[in-house]
């Protein structure tokens, strides 16, 4: 590993620590990392959208023609329309013509709302409704191998899914008071929802913990590089940088704690 690459890697570890320090409280290191990443990521997406969006969708389509006295001789002349609409968005820079920018915005919203209506009706309503009209496994109603309440695929479980889903739909009724039998079903519905949410929360914990384990892995790999004298490109600078970073972070932590203690003793 080259020394410069190790320096960059160290920077990566440093910003990792910067972000983790946010767990303690907001601090200058977090602010540093936060402001850097906002700028860098915004720039990154400018580039990605330019190269992967604007160039293939617009420029390359118009690029096959030439301008003759204001007439574009291209096979995709119609792509001038979105370009013009995009430019109309820029009227927002001016105070007097900003109202014009409502037109492309209205088209944007009209297209997406119109797109959503049949699509969502099909995917979320029709298909789910059809999925609910399934045959129940009567032969294995209480479990596949004898009585087993926890069998996921038994007919009983299928029935519970069905009843639970219907009760939960009832909970979402807006224009009917949750009273009497209707209220009882709605209560069952919210119970099902809550059990489902609890299970889903508990299930996600594992994935979240492994996110942190992955960060640990990267950090330990960096430590290994710094100490691995067997590495062919081993550089004495590695160890200096390693301890430099450790000292820097430890020093700041001590400083924080001391000032914190002072502040506390002065207030009491």
């Amino acid at each position: 590993m080259e020394f410069t690459e190790f320096l960059w890697m160290t920077f990566g570890v440093f910003v990792t620590l910067c972000i983790l320090s946010f767990l303690y409280k907001d601090n200058p290191f977090y602010k540093l990392a936060e402001h850097v990443v906002v700028g860098v990521s915004a720039g990154y997406f400018v580039i990605i959208l330019w190269h992967n969006g604007l160039v293939p969708k617009l420029f390359s389509r118009l690029a096959d023609g030439d301008w003759y006295y204001g007439f574009l001789n291209s096979s995709h002349v119609e792509y001038l329309i979105p370009a013009i609409l995009g430019c109309i968005m820029w009227t927002r820079f001016s105070k007097d013509y900003a109202w014009l920018s409502r037109w492309p915005m209205a088209m944007y919203i009209g297209i997406s709302a119109g797109l959503a209506i049949p699509l969502e009706m099909s995917n979320r309503v029709n298909k789910q409704l059809h999925a609910m009209m399934a045959e129940i496994d009567w032969a294995n109603f209480v479990g596949h191998d004898g009585f087993n309440l926890l069998d996921v695929t038994s007919g009983l479980s299928q029935t519970i899914v069905m009843i639970g889903a219907l009760a939960a739909i009832v909970y979402f009724f807006f224009s009917k008071e949750h009273k009497g039998a209707f209220g009882a079903i709605a209560t069952l519905g919210i119970w099902v929802l809550m059990i489902g949410f609890g299970a889903s929360f508990g299930f996600t914990v594992m994935a979240r913990i492994s996110l942190f384990t992955n960060r640990l892995q990267d950090t330990f790999r960096w430590g290994n590089v710094a100490f691995n004298t067997g590495n062919a490109n081993y550089h004495a600078g590695f160890i200096v940088v390693f301890w430099g970073l450790i000292l820097f972070v430890a020093g700041y932590a001590v400083y924080e704690i001391v000032t914190n203690l002072k502040r506390r003793s002065s207030t009491t």
Binding site: Y24, N140, H144, T153, I209, S210, L216
Partner: protein, 292 residues
Amino acid sequence: MQTFEKLMKLDRRWVYLLLIIVCVWSYIADFTVPILVEPEVRSIHSFIDSLPEGDIVMIAIDYDPNNLAELHPMTYAMVEHCWRNKVKTIFTSLSQNGPGMCDQALRDLTDSMALDREYNGVEYKGREIVNGIDYCFLGYKPYFAIVILGMGQDFRLPFPTDYYGTPLDSIPMMKGVINYGQCACVIDISGGNITDAWISYGQGRFGFPLALGLTGVMTAQYYPYLGSGQVFGIMGGLLGAAQYEELADNPGRAKDGMRVQLFAHMVIILFIVMGNVGYFASRRRLKQEGRA
């Protein structure tokens, strides 16, 4: 009573601190935790364990590098288990980046097999694993459904040569091995839709015993096949891999990962319990005060 209220209103930074300490400690420390084994994993292990020497198991490595963390440990544990029991293996890869995964696993595993080890109290002498005698890697071909069907006729149809270019007929272990009929079972380790093809085109048509190794999120949707008997075992995610490592007495990456998971989960559960103890205790006190 004051302590109970403290339990309830602990600064969340104590939660963070304890969690960091536990995660880092359990990540660095070298010990194993007991793993709870579920029957659907145990059935795979006992199936392979019961095979006599010289039987053949087919293992399909159908995953890409992005599922490596969850699925690689399964491959390692299972293949080593086979080889220690002198069961031969045939590998295929029906996903595009699968051969790289398989190649890497083969290299690591032949190294580790060269060492003497003790698993479940049984000494295994280290031995050299020879390509063509202990295993055969067929490689990758596109159109997985057709390849699976083709292998049902004859392995030589989609794979005239193995991954390394040796004709199948000149590979010693493939002598007399025509199709799935000569394999004890097929194990598909997959992170995608290839599993469906193995179930419907493979198991459905040729009726061999099939077991699955799946990513954590996929697992739930394949339980119905376990119920209907189309597959005889399922390993789900890191959890399933750790269970196999536990059964095979071969702790690896999955058990390392589960160690962190187990203790992190326990810390969280501990805090939840603490909070509730504090909550009930302080509520009782409030009630008592109200009465007094």
